[in-house]
């Protein structure tokens, strides 16, 4: 009897601890969403539409929003084609020397500190150009985006049953046609998911933009070779000011960023679970 209850007691404690720790793990997200909403909503309500369209002097973050869109668009244009091709290569030749090295390289790049990417791009683009620019920022973001898209592409293609490959080759379809015309469209959902998740992630990056984008918050960006602002970068700058106004603006901008991120990420993520071929 005595031994039995000690074991049961340990078991009880264990269950409680595990449950408690699990709640502790996910609770911060809830609290973060709550804090951002609670602090950001009043700011947006108060300032209305000018918050989204006005420049800094009008207490608005319009240029930052435009900047983020521009940067995401540009970095996708630069990074997606390359990443897609790399992902397909890694899928097709997983065991070749180049293939294995590529996969290892992708893993390394996935975990690369983002600030170092920014510093690198500053060295090779910003300084020679003589100015901060959307191009530089987009390039830095593209470098960060690439491993994600490549890995998602490869994994999505790997989900396709082997029978489709066999059938294509059995019919005499060449490798290029088989992969790009038959298999890739089959993996379309997984690949698109990967692309959208990577775009959402890159929209929230700050460190790579610190030394490349420059910041532009009074007027809307008009050219890719000029400095540009971004929402995360703006928030970072505003947090470090002592004025309460700057802090309110930071919360408001955070809410905008959060809504954008969750709005893209959650539906995409949910649909990923559903992908079954």
């Amino acid at each position: 009897m005595w031994k039995f209850s000690l074991r049961m007691a340990k078991d009880r404690v264990f269950i409680v601890a595990v449950s408690a720790f699990t709640i502790l793990t996910v609770y911060p997200l809830l609290h973060i969403i709550y804090s951002v909403a609670r602090n950001g909503l009043p700011v947006i309500m108060e300032r209305g539409p000018t918050f989204f369209t006005g420049g800094m002097s009008e207490a608005g973050i319009g240029p930052a929003i435009a900047g983020t869109f521009l940067l995401v668009l540009l970095s996708s244009l630069i990074g997606l084609p390359i990443a897609f091709l790399v992902g397909v290569y890694a899928y097709e030749y997983p065991d070749s020397l180049i293939g294995r090295t590529t996969q290892a390289l992708l893993q390394i790049m996935l975990e690369f500190p983002t600030v170092l990417v920014g510093v690198f791009v500053m060295d090779i683009i910003v300084l020679p150009m003589g100015t901060f620019s959307a191009l530089a920022g987009a390039f830095a973001l593209a470098i960060i985006m690439m491993p994600y898209v490549a890995v998602y592409t490869k994994e999505a293609m790997r989900q396709i049953p082997f029978t489709y490959r066999e059938a294509s080759f059995g019919l005499g379809v060449g490798r290029v046609k088989a992969i790009f015309r038959i298999l890739v469209p089959l993996a379309k959902r997984g690949i698109t998911t990967g692309i959208l998740i990577s775009m959402a992630k890159v929209a929230g990056e700050t460190a790579p933009l610190l030394f490349t984008a420059g910041g532009l918050y009074e007027s809307y960006p008009t050219s890719v070779t000029e400095p540009v602002g971004a929402i995360p970068l703006l928030i970072y700058t505003l947090i470090q000011s002592p004025s309460k106004d700057a802090h309110s603006m930071a919360w408001g901008a955070s809410l905008v960023l959060l809504i954008f991120f969750l709005g893209v990420f959650i539906p995409i993520r949910r649909s990923l679970k559903v992908v079954r071929l």
Partner: protein
């Protein structure tokens, strides 16, 4: 195979493309728009921002982007061509000036406003603080450890000084404000001069004692001060006014204890005949000319803060539109901007002959 997911994905892509198109469209509608960028010292932050705001009202198509970063960053951004107008508190050093000239263009430096470095503190229950020269140095060099040190008690017999360690907040970035403050400290105390010296970045003795904190930019320092009880810092007067911080009375050259106000700053400026060299030889200016000024009412830590522009030889750094806008803006700063109603709290206008030097420089910019 148009599924819900495909539609959703297309919608997202469409939104992004639309936003991009909007950004390009605004390019069309903003044909008349000029974007100017100014980077550097946070010492004149509130003044520059006020000027930008007022100027924007009369010139809505000239968008002036304010960027901080400190005097060091301002000089560097100016050198690299990453900004149009650099801002630096201390005059640029000769070596840096030569680097500027190596770009093939002629740099111009001139003051735009006068400000004061104040000593601000955050001690609950303490509303006024007198600091003699020795006390000031003692605190920042680390010899005076507690707020209720006998030296401080003697200077402030009625004050509520607690037995807590003094936390010294300083700049973590390359700062003109630090330069002004440490130059003053070197001026009034030999031990400081040999041990710490002057410069945009120095090694603060209190850091190694565990009683030091760094903040980025004047805003950063003030943020840290406000969040850290029993701390003390040095910052520009406007920040103390803007955030309602307590400011110490400092002993001036005459031995009187003065609070930093518009009048005490003006007294310092008028007590000294400022010598501003030609703007094309800005490195020759002496940072310490307004420091420790004589006069009963003079506040001791007063300084000019400067703007850096290019003469734009051969259109090297500015397009015609930009050059025109820059000239116009700077001209306005040195004339209308110096009027009392356009000055921000904590700053004092330039003596007329100093403003003249700046105007001659601005007029010489090539379009």
């Amino acid at each position: 195979m148009i599924t819900k997911k495909t539609v959703f994905g297309l919608v997202i892509v469409a939104i992004i493309l639309a936003a991009g198109a909007y950004a390009c469209m605004s390019k069309e509608s903003s044909k008349g728009l000029v974007s100017i960028r100014t980077t550097g010292a946070t010492f004149p932050q509130y003044q520059i921002q006020k000027w930008i705001e007022i100027y924007l009202k009369e010139h809505p198509n000239v968008k002036i982007e304010y960027e901080g970063g400190g005097s060091g960053h301002g000089q560097e951004a100016f050198l690299q061509g990453l900004t149009h107008i650099g801002r630096t508190d201390p005059p640029v050093r000769e070596s840096t000036w030569n680097q500027f000239k190596k770009t093939g263009d002629q740099p111009l430096q001139f003051p735009e406003v006068v400000g004061a470095v104040v000593v601000s503190y955050n001690v609950p229950g303490l509303n006024s603080l007198k600091l003699s020269k020795d006390a000031l140095v003692g605190i920042f060099i680390g010899n005076i450890i507690y707020w209720d040190d006998p030296v401080l008690k003697e200077l402030n017999p009625n004050a509520n000084l607690p037995h807590k360690e003094i936390i010294v907040v300083h700049r973590s970035d390359s700062s003109g404000t630090t330069s002004i403050f440490t130059t003053y400290m070197s001026l009034i105390n030999k031990t400081w001069k040999s041990r710490v010296g002057a410069g945009k970045t120095v090694e603060w003795p209190t850091d190694s004692m565990g009683r030091g904190l760094g903040g980025k930019g004047n805003p950063g320092v003030v943020t840290v001060l406000m969040q850290t009880p029993y701390s003390i810092c040095y910052t520009e007067l406007s920040f103390a006014l803007e955030e309602g911080l307590s400011v110490a009375e400092i002993e001036n050259a005459q031995g009187a204890f003065v609070k930093p106000t518009k009048n005490t700053i003006k007294a310092a400026v008028s007590a000294v005949s400022s010598h501003i060299p030609s703007p094309s030889e800005g490195y020759m200016e002496d940072l310490s000319q307004l420091l420790n000024a004589p006069g009963e009412d003079s506040y001791p830590i007063v300084a000019f803060t400067h703007l850096l522009v290019w003469k734009n030889l051969g259109g090297k750094h500015y397009s015609t539109k930009e050059a025109k806008a820059i000239k116009d803006f700077l001209f306005w700063i040195l004339t209308d901007g110096q009027k009392e109603e356009n000055l921000a709290p904590g700053y004092v206008g330039l003596p007329p002959e100093v403003a003249e030097m700046g105007l001659s420089a601005v007029n010489s910019i090539h379009e």
